[in-house]
């Protein structure tokens, strides 16, 4: 089991609220039976039509994505966090996340931490000013440091524990005491018969 205790690396700021998973990974790239190569298509349509931070050479090699509110809303496609992770993103900092995106990211060991809107903007400003700044996130301490910027970041305690203990890869855990699953299912009349 791989423990995820935080992340460290240069940042890439992506401004804007409600960035949906259709924008992160347009649906036509879901026409495949593996996740291979999805990193080539992250934000593809936005990058064609706007000047996008993912094409800005100053942020090349960045691994901490800094977003605003409700990031990852819309479709449940795991292809969105898969594409980001394969592109090299190891953590996302934002004002807030859509629930399914947050859960999908956890399932692949990609931590999504929240900070206050003011702190997120400070961090985005700082990275834009000094793209070489190293951003360090410590999940256990709930702390983010970037040069002289020190901000508090949050993640629900259960999710933090799952990441830092390596229990985010849940299948083994869920199969662990399968007799209890059987017992629970037998309590349900629609399973055992009305």
């Amino acid at each position: 089991m791989q423990r995820v205790t935080g992340a460290a690396g240069r940042g890439v700021p992506l401004r804007g609220d409600d960035i949906d998973t259709d924008r992160i990974m347009p649906a036509r790239f879901l026409r495949a039976i593996t996740f291979d190569g999805l990193e080539q298509h992250v934000f593809e349509d936005d990058r064609k039509t706007t000047k996008h931070p993912f094409d800005d050479s100053r942020y090349r090699g960045a691994s901490v994505l800094v977003v605003n509110s409700n990031f990852g809303c819309g479709s449940s496609r795991e292809h969105a966090p898969q594409g980001l992770q394969r592109w090299g993103i190891n953590a996302v900092v934002g004002e807030s996340f859509a629930e399914i995106f947050f859960g999908n990211s956890l399932m692949i060991g990609l931590p999504c931490v929240t900070a206050s809107p003011a702190d997120v903007r400070k961090l985005q400003d700082l990275i834009e000013r000094r793209p070489d700044t190293e951003v360090r996130i410590d999940l256990e301490k709930g702390a983010l440091d970037a040069d002289d910027l020190h901000v508090q970041v949050s993640i629900p305690p259960n999710v933090r524990d799952a990441l830092v203990t390596g229990a985010w890869d849940t299948t083994g855990l869920l199969l662990d005491r399968y007799e209890e699953v059987d017992a629970a299912s037998k309590r349900l009349p629609y399973v055992s018969g009305f």
Partner: protein, 466 residues
Amino acid sequence: MGKTLLQKVWDLHTVRQLPTGQTQLFIGLHLVHEVTTPQAFDELRARGWKVARPDRTFATTDHIIPTQSRQRPFLDVMAEDMLVSLERNVRDFGIRFAGLDDDRQGIVHVIGPELGLTQPGMTIACGDSHTSTHGAFGAVAFGIGTSQVRDVLASQCLALEPMKVRRIRVSGNLAKGVYAKDVVLTIIQRLGVRGGTGYAYEYAGDAIERMSMDERMTICNMSIEGGARVGYVNPDETTFEYMKGRPFAPSGDAFERAKAWWLAMASDRNASFDDDVEIRAEELTPVVTWGVNPGQSIGIDERVPSPESAGNEKQAVTDALDYMGLRPGQPIAGMKVDVAFIGSCTNSRLSDLREAARIVRGHRVAPHVKALVVPGSVSVSRAAEQEGIAEIFRAAGFEWRGAGCSMCLGMNPDKLEGNQVCAASSNRNFKGRQGSPTGRTLLMSPAMVAAAALAGEVTDVRRLVN
């Protein structure tokens, strides 16, 4: 203190608290389709796991299938690969499958209820965010990603965090020409696209109670567009009447016993909610989206906002107007449309098509409009043919297509081209959603789409329904 339906279902399906503090929840029904599952099945193979409960799993194909010709192999080799992969997976793992040649095929959120697979009191998961649709039956139903699909396949369980419950009471009567779609678009507009994060939405009140199952499904379907992963309506006589005689529903005495259990799952009268919201149905008008998320909508009589009046949403409004090619303060009525799409898991059921056909009967689609109807399932399609609805659409110049997700998300050949404007009965107006990176979507009720198709522009359906 009483309990909500969500709490009852949650407690009953809890297997245990995991060491992480998350809840291990048993999933009563797992619905599978071709887009979000191939990688999950591959992981099962790689780890040597079986599907734990094939008897609680059901698959169909909907997202990628062409709606004009079902001939195999598909012209799109990637789509063909995906269907071949699903066909192999259901065969290898022994999963029930409504495939391309099956009379039961259709959009996963249309066929679950049609077949009686969807039942009150269940937990339902599917690798699709619109799984909230099934909440119309008083199920706790939600979308998941591919790794969670793997978990459900392998263990029939998920590791989850609990949810809060917001009750949204809709009371009073809807005016003619105002539909369930307008109710849910209004809810999203008022509470915002992020307002529901962390919540399940319980839809209640006399207006919801009077609604048919199809209408309730439209409302629950779009919960996720308001940020709520789960939306539900308490089961009642309308629910039970719908369930009766469905292939997978209990029958005879078992149906009566089931009914008693289903009823007991409804929220208690004295249940407490984390939040309460009231909506007056009389105040509602037909709603149209003008922007790039489902919360950016206005009444048909209104004008699109200007960035100056948008407060801290100024940048978002500027971007959205720019993408949509709209001027600040422009009336939405009269906006020219190029395409009219009636379909999707939100609004492709028989009653949706009936209502749209009522508008269309005896008229012609405007010459510059490409109009298509994509029924939600083979069964809806056949019923519409028998009732003569399909013929009404064809005679008016609509294309009558085969069942699938189609132009809701453009994963099949049905896509917008360039910056076409589409009046759509679907659920998302995100940038590029309908298959063209610059395509523009206006969400509205199926009747409003029908009206727009005839007029060639956005128009008030209330003038046509009396």
